[in-house]
């Protein structure tokens, strides 16, 4: 029993500690793929450290939302990290506190506050980016819901640990048509939700074209550090959900020993690294879509997950 609480907190610690690393590795690999040297993989840590030690400037035309948003956005992925299988296959202490839909709502809460905060300022680029984020968000919602519902219907439960046991643990399920299609649909969803190419350019500085990065525009000092970290953690949490719940449970600890759980950390990170390789390849080979073509992109994701749902449910 105490181990479960310990492992749960260990999970949160892993998410907190390694999220900026994942972000750093992604940017470095992308540059490497384009034959450039790229920044150090620990650069996001240095950025967060620097920002935490700077002064914060807050516009006097903002309300409490602007000041609260970084904290809400920071804690949302932490809550979700309590619920999902990051290191272990068996449910931990807080596992039954919320299911996947609950986790999705909490993540959406963080994003919602960030959007509100962007509208809260009088900066013209803030609301523009916020409305675009909402457009991408509402088109992505059906995909989320259909994916979660399909997987839960098959598993008979909405708790991520149980879904993972019933959905991916039998290895024969890996090649099912619905499995492949759901993976592809969720991958397109991650690209959309996290603002990767082809939906948005994560390294672009041009405010008129920003979709997701615009929420960081007005923040400075501690707020900026928390928002950056929160963004990195949301990305990491989404990848973990994708890999551990939907793709394969490889690398997760089976037993209760501390050594096993600690061993799971590098194995899971290795899995994440493999995913980042695929992601970077996709990002380097596509171009950013024009704004209203994003609807087609997400429409295709929706169709794919509906097809996956039909394929799986008709076999029952």
């Amino acid at each position: 029993m105490p181990e479960r609480i310990l492992y749960n907190l260990l999970q949160v610690g892993v998410v907190l500690a390694f999220a900026p690393l994942v972000e750093g590795i992604t940017s470095r690999l992308k540059e490497n793929l384009q034959s450039k040297r790229g920044p150090s993989i620990f650069q996001p840590y240095r950025d967060i450290w620097k920002l935490l030690h700077k002064d914060e400037i807050v516009s006097e035309y903002t309300s409490w939302i602007f000041r609260a948003a970084p904290y809400v956005a920071f804690t949302a992925p932490i809550f979700v990290a309590l619920l999902i299988p990051v290191l272990t296959r068996y449910p931990l202490f807080f596992a039954f506190m919320g299911d996947m839909l609950g986790g999705g709502f909490v993540l959406a809460l963080g994003g919602f506050f960030a959007t509100l905060a962007a509208v809260d300022t009088a900066n013209p680029y803030g609301p523009m980016g916020a409305s675009r984020t909402r457009m991408v968000g509402f088109l992505a919602e059906p995909v989320f819901i259909v994916v979660f519902l399909t997987v839960s219907f098959v598993a008979g439960s909405t708790i991520p640990y149980i879904v993972q046991t019933r959905w991916v643990t039998p290895i024969a399920n890996f090649f099912e048509p619905s499995h492949v299609l759901l993976m592809i649909a969720f991958l397109m969803l991650i690209l959309a939700e996290d603002g990767r190419i082809p939906v948005d350019s994560p390294s672009g500085q041009f405010e008129l074209a920003m979709i997701d990065r615009s929420r960081l525009l007005e923040y400075s000092g501690r707020g900026a550090a928390l928002m950056k970290w929160a963004g990195a953690m949301k990305f990491f949490v989404l990848i973990i959900i994708f890999l551990n719940v939907l793709v394969t449970p490889w690398g997760l600890a089976q037993g209760m020993g501390l050594g096993e759980v600690l061993l799971a950390i590098p194995l899971v990170l290795l899995k994440v690294f493999g995913f980042i390789l695929v992601l970077v390849y996709i990002e380097s080979s596509l171009a950013k879509l024009r704004l209203f073509r994003i609807t087609e992109f997400l429409g295709a994701a929706f169709v794919i997950c509906v097809v996956a749902m039909i394929t799986r449910l008709s076999e029952i």
């Binding site: 090649f175 592809i184 429409g299």
Partner: protein
């Protein structure tokens, strides 16, 4: 269903079927003539692979013949003919002119896949045949998507590749696969 009889082949066949359907949806969603032609070639390769897998599993020579014909006509002959008769400039620069915009087409495509499963369900319930569980609905879906895509294109070039797709191979092999043709006429 017989997934226990040939587990590996069943799994690979299911994977091929899923990718096949994915390319069919991709053709509905793509904008460029060249991309749709490439997706068509990819789809033909997947169809050939599926026919080969089923031929190995069911031990039927007819299916290997189907695979050979598919490779020869759909993957090699038809794209070559299309490239030759239509100038390469069309393929490089042309966007597909369509009657319906892409999100609506995608929604109708999703509805057609659902329809294919609904149509195939009573047929599958009536008879138990190995591999039909996966292949029959996917073949029907690909055929419906082909007919739909022909209906919403404005020009002959993109229509012709779709007609080939829907009429030449997709329903016959997927049904032939499901039937024990080995002792057929």
């Amino acid at each position: 269903m017989n997934s226990t009889a040939y587990p590996v082949i069943f799994a690979l066949d299911a994977l091929t079927g899923a990718l096949f359907l994915l390319t069919a949806i991709g053709v509905v969603a793509t904008r460029q003539v060249l991309a749709s032609l490439q997706l068509f070639i990819l789809q033909s390769l997947l169809l050939t692979l599926s026919a080969v897998l089923l031929g190995v599993a069911l031990g039927s020579v007819h299916l290997f013949a189907v695979a050979a014909i598919t490779i020869a006509t759909k993957t090699l002959l038809i794209p070559w003919l299309l490239r030759r008769t239509v100038s390469s400039e069309v393929y490089r620069t042309r966007e597909i002119e369509r009657v319906l915009n892409i999100p609506s087409s995608l929604l109708i495509a999703a509805a057609l896949v659902v329809l294919a499963y609904v149509v195939a369900n009573p047929l599958l319930r009536a008879v138990e045949v190995p591999f039909a569980q996966i292949n029959l609905p996917l073949g029907l879906a690909a055929m419906f998507l082909g007919v739909f895509t022909v209906a919403v294109r404005r020009e002959a070039v993109s229509q012709s590749s779709q007609t080939c797709r829907s009429s030449l191979s997709s329903p016959p092999p997927s049904m032939c696969r499901s039937l024990p043709w080995s002792s057929a006429c």
